[in-house]
């Protein structure tokens, strides 16, 4: 561990990205508290569409769910007329959390402290003793309810997926995603009504960017995830590709399943366990449900969403930042209203692959914890991203770190680093 009594915290203004560019990532991006605050301001409260909910979670008038945009708590509501709103869950009076329930149905929200009451869209409807009591007290005569509502975010919905932004002048979601990534998004969200199957949630003691790096990294999947390669769900020699939008902020990893088989072509895939067979094969009985040959599509949407399609398991993985060295991962699993019981059961069984107890994704949460530990004691060092070269272009294989490079290329622009 590098440490000396003379060492002082380095100011963000003195931070300098390595000269080699995005083939290097300095470890302080995972540990610098001032940088985290700048990320909250410029990324999560800046010009970005954060995923907040599926419309199917709040189907009826008055339904609401609580979530966060960056580390700001918000409530996603549906008003009496059916419109969806996203408001900051913080009373305009003294900052108390207004809504305590994780979900529910309410057409007004009342702060428990002084009973200020808000509408679904955040408007302040009223407050006790506004005109005083018996001629005493009361708010100033010029107090205007319209100026003291819950802060409202801009809301956009596409095919049942709700996004919100603190920036009210942002481009449409279609323009934001770009044509290629919009096409992949619409592949899963094709307008069919969704059915929410349930939630898995976990805290990960790592910087949030490590989660994006993980999903944008097909190189690790065939090496770390022995379960995946053993059962053919993901392998370095399966046909696959990586596609970014023009900015590099969004990307998609596409691959296709193969049967459990002998390794051909390369000796590098050593981790297949030929001795393993499933005692209950119904654990993995994927059926084709989307057009085309892709069986795995992992899409990362800046700044807080991973859309997961691995075989028949569909989930939104929402990142909620908590501090520079901790984030939460909220998994919302879903299917379609039109699924039959057999398909629903298949999705529920395949959910065993993912989440905090996932046969596959346990590997990732554990590695991210170790990555954070390494970064914390490597402040003057940097990560290397040269697999597949130094470019930022789409690829048709998975032996690459290109999507991580593209992510940091965009990140550096937004963060002015």
């Amino acid at each position: 561990m590098e440490f000396s009594l003379a060492e002082r915290p380095i100011a963000l203004s003195d931070r300098r990205w390595p000269d080699a560019g995005v083939t290097r990532v300095p470890f302080w991006v995972y540990t610098d508290v001032a940088l985290y605050e700048r990320e909250q301001e410029r990324i999560f409260r800046g010009p970005s569409w954060s995923y907040v909910a599926l419309a199917a979670e709040i189907p009826e008038a008055g339904d609401f769910v609580r979530t966060s945009v960056g580390d700001v708590p918000v409530i996603v509501t549906r008003d009496r007329k059916g419109a969806v709103h996203v408001v900051v869950n913080r009373c305009a009076h003294r900052g108390v959390v207004v809504c305590n329930a994780a979900s529910g149905n309410a057409t007004t929200f009342t702060c428990p402290y002084h009973q200020w009451q808000y509408a679904s869209d955040g408007r302040l409807l009223g407050l006790p003793f506004k005109k005083g009591v018996g001629g005493h007290g009361g708010m100033p005569a010029d107090f205007d309810n319209a100026e003291h509502g819950l802060q409202q975010l801009c809301v956009i919905e596409r095919n049942g997926v709700v996004f919100a932004s603190f920036d009210h002048g942002l481009a449409s979601l279609e323009e934001y995603l770009g044509p290629t990534n919009l096409g992949w998004f619409d592949r899963v969200f094709d307008g069919r009504p969704l059915r929410v199957l349930g939630y898995q949630r976990q805290t990960v003691p790592a910087n949030w960017k490590l989660m994006f790096e993980n999903i944008k990294d097909p190189y690790h999947a065939s090496l770390l995830h022995v379960f995946l390669v053993t059962f053919g769900l993901f392998r370095a020699d399966n046909p696959s590709k990586t596609q970014m939008d023009a900015t590099g902020q969004h990307s998609v990893l596409v691959s296709q399943r193969s049967e459990q088989r002998e390794v051909t072509g390369t000796d590098d895939i050593k981790r297949v366990r030929h001795d393993l067979v499933l005692r209950d094969p119904t654990l993995l009985d994927p059926v084709r449900e989307f057009p085309g040959s892709a069986t795995v599509v992992m899409q990362t949407i800046w700044p807080n969403l991973i859309v997961q399609q691995q075989s028949n398991t569909l989930a939104m993985r929402q990142l909620v930042t908590r501090s520079v060295d901790e984030f939460e991962l909220h998994w919302t699993y879903f299917g379609y209203e039109s699924d039959d019981e057999e398909m629903t059961q298949r999705r529920l069984r395949q959910a065993n692959l993912m989440g905090p107890a996932g046969l596959v994704s346990i590997d990732d949460s554990e590695v991210m914890r170790l990555a954070q530990q390494g970064a914390a004691v490597g402040q003057h060092h940097e990560a290397l991203l040269e697999m597949g070269g130094a470019d930022l272009d789409d690829t048709d294989h998975m032996v690459t770190e290109v999507a991580i490079r593209a992510f940091y290329d965009h990140y550096r622009t937004v963060m002015e680093l």
């Binding site: 994780a102 979900s103 929410v196 199957l197 349930g198 939630y199 898995q200 949630r201 976990q202 805290t203 990960v204 003691p205 770390l224 022995v226 379960f227 053993t230 366990r273 393993l276 499933l278 005692r279 209950d280 119904t282 654990l283 939460e328 699993y333 629903t344 529920l348 069984r349 959910a351 065993n352 989440g355 905090p356 107890a357 046969l359 346990i362 590997d363 949460s365 554990e366 590695v367 914890r369 170790l370």
Partner: protein, 168 residues
């Protein structure tokens, strides 16, 4: 979810002996915590279901689980993953199981509820509470003694700290 019966109207153990059920839960905790997974699997009947889920899914009527095994064979596949394919930092788990109570009786089975707390110790960290919650199980009579036909572990906190490596 099976509700606890009020204390004053305690259900009997019916076809089971209360002491042997206590032993079943003690064995469950000890075998899991010591990593004797094959012996632990033997505490389930072949057609047993084993489900771990967050309380919020139960309360919202949502079917998703964090671990869902529809058979002992599927649970055995999970043990294979745990012992041979998954990567995780070494840790020690301690299951503490209390308040084991019968809440419903049938000819050859008893519905049982219990509380659990699981402590987790990673080699380089202080011991922490990993999870707390309740079991809502069905225990059946077999020639080998009482065995689980259903185990439903409902953990209270929605957020799992990092990973759930050892089953609850």
């Amino acid at each position: 979810m099976t509700q606890s019966a009020p204390a004053r109207s305690r259900t009997s153990w019916g076809p089971l002996d209360g002491g042997s059920v206590r032993e079943l839960y003690d064995d469950y905790a000890a075998l899991l915590d010591d990593g004797h997974y094959e012996a632990w699997l033997d505490l389930f009947v072949a057609g047993a279901t084993y489900i771990v889920t967050a309380r919020e899914n139960i309360e919202r009527g949502l079917p998703l689980a964090t671990i869902r095994c529809d058979s002992r064979a599927m649970l055995s596949d999970r043990v294979d993953a745990l012992t041979s394919t998954q990567f995780f930092a070494r840790r020690i788990a301690r299951h503490v199981i209390t308040a084991i109570r019968p809440v419903g009786v049938d000819a050859g089975s008893v519905d049982v509820t219990a509380n659990f707390v699981v402590f987790e110790t990673l080699v380089d960290e202080a011991t922490r509470v990993h999870s707390a919650g309740t079991y809502a199980d069905q225990v059946v009579v077999t020639d080998e003694g009482p065995r689980f036909a259903t185990k439903l572990a409902i953990y209270d906190a929605p957020l799992v700290p990092t990973s759930m490596i050892v089953p609850l």
